[in-house]
């Protein structure tokens, strides 16, 4: 599903060159739930951003579902992100000025469909994460765990094949973290979604099928 071949990422600022990723080769199969671990600054987010087409690698090739994505323009990349990828972030990144259900609808705004259809899908996704009672709340009125569940609903509302989660439990206590992981596990099982999750927590990593470890931008095993 996701194939990385010799991926490099070098950040160049005025004086320093940071090698954030070095020769990363990975093959993530469809329906796999993998975790990425590593110390802070080891390149986990960078790797996830590259898989998520939010950042371009400095070298190497990335294939999503068999097709290379390097040569695509911004419009096509945006479309792939919209249709095939779902994102979950440590800090939720909900739009504060939109209600829960409106937040969940955002990915669907970039698709051609009626407002009613969007609403139906959004409500279904919220039901999925157990937030049907909070659809007209605003993010500020929700707990961290609830906010992350909104973010998960938003990530899955468009039925993407791949969900990329960057420390989804990083800002939550362990109880809420467990809730989130079980939602992701359920998603992985029921929908056969491919899930890539960055985490610091070995307990969470244990629950996934496979763990990739990064150190200083390199893969270690």
């Amino acid at each position: 599903m996701i194939t990385l071949d010799n991926i490099e990422k070098i950040y160049r600022t005025d004086k320093i060159e940071t090698v954030a990723l070095h020769a990363i080769s990975l093959n993530i199969r469809e329906g796999e739930f993998i975790s990425i671990m590593g110390p802070s600054g080891s390149g986990k987010s960078t790797l996830l951003n590259i898989m998520g087409l939010l950042d371009a690698p400095s070298g190497g090739t990335l294939k999503l579902a068999g097709s290379a994505v390097a040569a695509q323009g911004d419009r096509q990349l945006a479309r792939i992100r919209n249709e095939r990828l779902g994102f979950i972030f440590q800090t939720f990144h909900l739009i504060q000025d939109l209600s829960v259900v409106d937040n969940v609808e955002v990915p669907l705004l970039y698709r051609r469909m009626s407002g009613a259809e969007r609403r139906t899908l959004a409500l279904r996704a919220l039901e999925r994460v157990g937030l049907s009672a909070r659809v007209h709340h605003f993010p500020g009125q929700l707990s961290g765990g609830q906010q992350q569940r909104v973010a998960i609903a938003r990530a899955i509302v468009g039925s993407p094949k791949i969900v990329l989660a960057d420390e989804p439990t990083g800002n939550l206590d362990s109880q809420m973290g467990d809730d989130i992981i079980s939602i992701l596990l359920d998603l992985n099982k029921a929908e056969k979604s491919t899930i890539v999750m960055v985490t610091h927590d070995p307990r969470m990593a244990e629950k996934t099928e496979r763990t990739i470890r990064l150190f200083d931008g390199r893969q270690v095993n």
Partner: protein, 404 residues
């Protein structure tokens, strides 16, 4: 998507209300200025009723004492003056006009008749004036030499007066002033009869409002009875300013002790325009300055708005918005805000009694001014939004999502 923009804006109404109010106020100011300009252009293009080219004005001050000899002396001297003027090869004709075009004197009759306010601008001229100023008669007849000896006063009026006073009736032979009214000094009704109708006579020039005009017959020999009477001469095309001095010398030697001031109507016209143009420049500058301030403020607010929303923009990119779409979203929000300000502004403008303030201005002019100022407002806000929108488009999603 538009519904989504409305939602975003509505949920942030406090912050957005300020921008909308700013846009609303600028719109009102812009509308006022554009209306002023539109009214000026509209009036400028209305018929003037005369041609000013090659017409010169001679202002005469006889300085004669008002005693028993006044009339006799003045008329005798006047006769000599006219002979002297007509003898000049450069002069094609001479007429008298109590209040010549582009001059500063005005005489107004105003009263309420059956609840309707009627204002008439009064003037006087001699029979030669038609040819000197190229005035056009629409119906009836022009003044003629015989009018001097009539027991009543013939008058020529403009079409506006006919419309207001007589509607579709034939005005010829009627008194331009409403019956039963006294004019001008309470000595009872004078016997004034309309003999002809001219299209227009806008003495105060191109920027003046059209008005009702009644021009009464004035014998050229009696020119200096009214303190403000002037002679108008038509000179041959190409006559240059040097003729002014030689004419002045001729006049001074013909009428000893009298004083003369000679000006071309073009000079008077330019002087007449000055205050109007000065007002336009001042108002234009103030409005321009205000709009510049608004524009700078708007750019600042939008810029700040974009940097405050870096996260959201990065997120939208992750969720499937292309960079282009981010650009259009920011502009789109601005257009929604502008539209909101313009709708409220239009509602306010329509309430205004302005539409009756300048009754001669057709409502279409206000419509045009409204459309122009609305378009200018859209142009202004879009111009202000271009840079912030571009900044939003340039936001790197990975970086934007990184920072909090």
């Amino acid at each position: 998507m538009i519904k989504h923009l409305f939602k975003l804006i509505w949920n942030k109404k406090k912050a957005n209300a300020l921008i909308s109010i700013e846009i609303l106020i600028s719109f009102l100011v812009l509308f006022a200025v554009v209306t002023m300009a539109a009214v000026s252009i509209y009036r400028f293009n209305l018929p003037l009723g005369y041609a000013y080219a090659n017409v010169w004005r001679i202002s005469i001050d006889s300085r004669l004492p008002f005693d028993s000899t006044y009339n006799a002396v003045k008329q005798a001297t006047m006769k000599e003056l006219l002979v002297a003027i007509r003898a000049q090869p450069q002069v094609e004709g001479v007429a008298t006009f109590a209040m010549a075009p582009y001059g500063n004197n005005t005489s107004i009759w105003r009263d309420k008749v059956n609840g309707e306010e009627i204002t008439i601008y009064i003037n006087n001229c001699s029979e030669e004036a038609k040819d000197i100023l190229g005035m056009r008669l629409v119906s009836g007849r022009w003044f003629e030499e015989n009018d001097r000896s009539l027991a009543w006063t013939p008058a020529i009026v403009n079409q506006a007066l006919v419309r207001q006073r007589f509607g579709s009736e034939n005005p010829i032979g009627k008194n331009p002033y409403p019956k039963g009214d006294s004019f001008p000094t309470g000595r009872g009704m004078r016997d004034i009869r309309i003999v002809g109708v001219i299209e227009e006579f806008r003495k105060d020039g191109e920027f003046s409002a059209p008005a009702n005009v009644s021009i009464e017959y004035l014998d050229i020999l009696k020119t200096t009875r009214a303190t403000s009477s002037d002679l108008l001469i038509r000179v041959r095309p190409g006559t240059d300013a040097s003729f002014k001095e030689s004419l002045d010398r001729t006049l001074a030697s013909t009428a000893k002790g009298w004083s003369f001031e000679i000006k071309t109507l073009e000079e008077l016209r330019r002087a007449n325009f000055k205050p109007d143009i000065a007002v336009m420049i001042v108002v234009g500058c103030i409005a321009g300055f205000l709009l510049l301030m608004v524009a700078l403020g708007l750019i600042g607010v939008l810029w700040q708005n974009v940097s405050r929303r870096t996260n959201e923009i990065g997120l939208r990119r992750a969720l499937g918005s292309s960079a282009r779409m981010v650009y259009w979203q920011i502009l789109g929000e601005l257009l929604v805000l502008t539209t909101f300000g313009l709708i409220v502004g239009t509602a306010i403008i329509v309430q205004f009694p302005l539409l009756n303030l300048l009754s001669e201005i057709p409502n279409g002019i206000y419509g045009v001014a409204l459309v122009i100022s609305a378009s200018l407002m859209y142009g202004l806000t879009v111009a202000c939004g271009l840079y912030p929108s571009w900044l939003a488009m340039e936001i790197e999603p990975a970086e934007a999502l990184h920072c909090d």
